[in-house]
């Protein structure tokens, strides 16, 4: 099962996109609640285009994930085992989150909302999205796959959500909606979260690097991915993470859309490499 994980591209796409959407939503939800306006929450952040984008990205992620299935048109059956299967739950929470984000978007669009309702919806959506990511984490933390069983999986999934989420939110507000620079505190927050995420990710890289790592595939499996196959991914990832930091810093010094775009794309590339590696190190106990 080891080897380059290109064949898992639908899962790479699904996890990256949905984590980005969730992470961005977290940024915005927190921002809108903390930086309250007169309405009790800040409509500058919780905008219709942003929420619509979240829903669309989630939808796209879900659509891509269908390519992973042998029988996509039976996908609905995947909700059959909520009692036991984290995959069923993942899908459920994704759907719930999407629904909540969509209703928020509608409310925002119609401007007929009551603040409490929005707050409740935001809180619910926040929880659903958190459960969504947790389900995703749990789904991979199988007892028989030591490489995924440890801290590595939550760290990388949450790391991705925070990094791509924060940069994605900033990117969409600045570049797409032209709102960002009017709200420096939001960007500051995004920068801090992104930086924290980079640190988190570096930690997972460290944890995972063969020879150094505590959870390296060497530990417990027969099918080992040779280090020679892992290092190129890691190098690539480190390179693009540095790019992210560099361009974020340049942007911070001198805000301009291209710089932020590059920073975001660079983060995306780094995370894509990380995710490919994530699937590539799959290796189970036994045979």
């Amino acid at each position: 099962m080891t080897g380059l994980a290109w064949k898992e591209w639908p899962l790479v796409g699904f996890t990256l996109l949905s984590q980005t959407a969730v992470g961005a939503f977290w940024m915005v939800a927190v921002a809108s609640l903390y930086m309250e306006g007169a309405s009790g929450w800040n409509s500058r952040y919780l905008t219709f285009p942003f929420l619509a984008a979240v829903v669309i990205v989630l939808g796209l992620a879900a659509a891509i994930s269908l390519f992973h299935l042998g029988r996509p048109w039976r996908a609905v059956l995947a909700l059959n085992n909520l009692k036991r299967s984290w995959l069923s739950r993942e899908i459920l929470f994704e759907l719930v989150f999407m629904a909540l984000a969509a209703s928020l978007a509608l409310l925002v669009l119609k401007k007929t909302y009551r603040p409490t309702l929005v707050r409740i919806l935001v809180a619910l959506a926040f929880s659903a999205s958190l459960l969504f990511i947790i389900s995703m984490v749990k789904l991979y933390m199988m007892r028989t796959v030591p490489a995924w069983r440890g801290l590595y999986t939550p760290l990388s999934f949450f790391g991705t959500a925070l990094l791509l989420g924060s940069l994605g939110a900033a990117f969409s507000y600045d570049t797409l909606l032209d709102l960002g620079r009017k709200a420096p505190p939001f960007l500051d927050a995004a920068a801090i979260v992104a930086l924290a995420a980079v640190v988190l990710i570096l930690l997972t890289i460290f944890l995972f690097t063969p020879g150094l790592g505590l959870f390296g595939p060497k530990k417990a499996t027969l099918l080992e991915l040779p280090a020679a196959k892992i290092y190129p991914y890691l190098l690539f990832r480190l390179l693009f993470l540095s790019g992210t930091v560099l361009f974020s810093f340049l942007y911070y010094r001198n805000p301009s859309a291209p710089l932020l775009t590059i920073a975001f794309l660079s983060a995306l590339a780094a995370e894509a490499a990380g995710r490919l590696l994530f699937y590539a190190v799959y290796s189970r106990l036994g045979v």
Partner: protein
Amino acid sequence: MQQAGGSQSSWVRQYAFYFDSSACSGCKACQAACKDKHDLPVNILWRRVYEVAGGNWTKSGNVWVPGVFSYYISMACHQCAKPICGDGCPTKAIYKRQDGIVLLDTEACIGCRLCEWACPYGALQFDEASRLMTKCHFCFDYIDMGKPPVCVAACPMRALDFGELADLRKKYGATNQVFPLPEAALTEPALVIKPHRDATRATKDTAEVANWEEI
């Protein structure tokens, strides 16, 4: 009928395989019998045979002296008491029959391949043609007719047997784990093995599966 991972008491019997590794020649008649009965395409082996090889050659004077050992493990789905494969299945396609046989309902499977990731015995195999998961089902159709699974009936060395787990344990002992099989506690396989004499020499550091390309 029990969901995979349900408590053991809820199925009334547990069918199991016996495998005598000390007598297995690795001839793969079992594998072929299964392929023929189920028309399995190349790359799908519900029963497959692992070649374990280990040890070393050392020079003594002018001659190379072999400290080499080898044995075979013929494996199917072990109809586990804790079928980890079914735990994650989002569609409940994998379930345990009342006689302990773990079945996979192809009408329910969506081909998400989660079970394939999970099973530590490599028993679940994806069929590219039908885009569905497949696995050994203990020849439940033959069991229902009172006939043995074809792999068991095929073995020229008479190294395979089947029956109720409790009976097999009484007859052959309780070993269910030798290199390179995973810790039995993971899934509690319904399997009794008579190890090859050299199995005691085999560990992760001294031996390896030598025929990956064949399985």
